[in-house]
Symmetry: C2
Subunit: 197 residues, 2 copies
């Protein structure tokens, strides 16, 4: 493997990431990506078979880092499980206030590509969300929360709902409202809750 191959490929993915996330998949042309990466389209096509491949690579590159960030928020927060969950949503709100924030790249890509069911980028997006849910579930179980899998799913629903609402209203306080709801669901002292992990 030539030493610069990975570098060039990575430079292309980085350029694609910036542009796809910032402007949307369909709004960005392969020429745009190549130009931003500082090379010609032909070179890009040497490293990627098609635009679809590039889209998949864009999401694949986002998967792990995103999970590390979100779980980092949670693990860094002090206090009870509810406090930690509130912190996650508070951080999400902080992100949402950044001028360059454009929602969740996975969700937006899913919205753009609904009509191409088998698309690898869609699979990558679904896998990513499942992984995040599993990370929550693991931590909930460890904390001894009742029905950790169910709670993790509900928190994920609020998480994605917060993304959608922040994007729709351009108002980060929705993430905080979602955080309050998530805290209550995770508090584990509600009358209906049954024991058993």
């Amino acid at each position: 493997m030539p030493k610069d191959a990975a570098t060039t490929r990575d430079r292309i993915v980085a350029a694609a990431s910036k542009l796809f996330y910032g402007h949307g998949i369909r709004a960005v042309s392969v020429d745009d990506v190549a130009a931003r990466a500082g090379l010609t389209k032909r070179t890009l096509y040497y490293h990627f078979r098609s635009k679809d491949d590039l889209i998949a690579a864009y999401l694949a590159a986002r998967d792990e880092p995103t999970i590390v960030i979100v779980m980092g928020w949670m693990d860094a927060a002090k206090g009870t499980l509810a406090d930690k969950i509130e912190a996650v949503f508070a951080q999400l709100a902080r992100l949402g206030r950044h001028p360059k924030w454009r929602g969740c790249g996975f969700l937006r890509t899913a919205a753009e590509l609904v009509t191409t069911p088998g698309h690898p980028a869609l699979k990558a997006g679904a896998a990513h969300k499942k992984k995040l849910e599993a990370e929550f579930a693991g931590r909930f179980a460890q904390a001894g929360l009742d029905a950790p899998a169910m709670r993790a799913r509900q928190v994920m629903l609020l998480f994605d709902g917060a993304f959608s609402a922040m994007l729709t209203h351009r108002d980060a306080s929705y993430a905080e409202a979602a955080g309050q709801a998530a805290m209550e669901l995770v508090r584990d002292e509600r009358p209906r809750a049954k024991r058993r992990t």
Copy 2:
């Protein structure tokens, strides 16, 4: 006003609705819409100034009917407030299982058009979600629920989260999970809840 003007315009909007919802805004050309409406592109441009106008008309036409449907689900359901909310999410799940279901048109349009901040379609989408939230809040208040506005917002977050998760995973059971969470938030017997409507 000539008697057929409204009919043709409506036919165009109906065609746009089918195509924009089914395939996405950018994936559908003005020619596609015209062809499906059974007229030429030039005629379409006689009725709409631009594609952006057409997109806005598509969402405007979806606003009221959608609200009527969702609130119809709620009002038709028997039982407590929690039962009614559960019914809403159950109906959403039912919708999500339909093969032609492609998520929430408002959310998907918002995702596609993030980069054009002033777009009328985005305003229409935000207004629609706010209206739906207000309808929930009104019913929650009438039922005597604590903090109805906050609960309505949380239910909306779960609603949008359900849309996103169903789209991502192509699994309608996420709506049911969201419904369970919404029920708990609306049950009004949790220890932390303070009185006052």
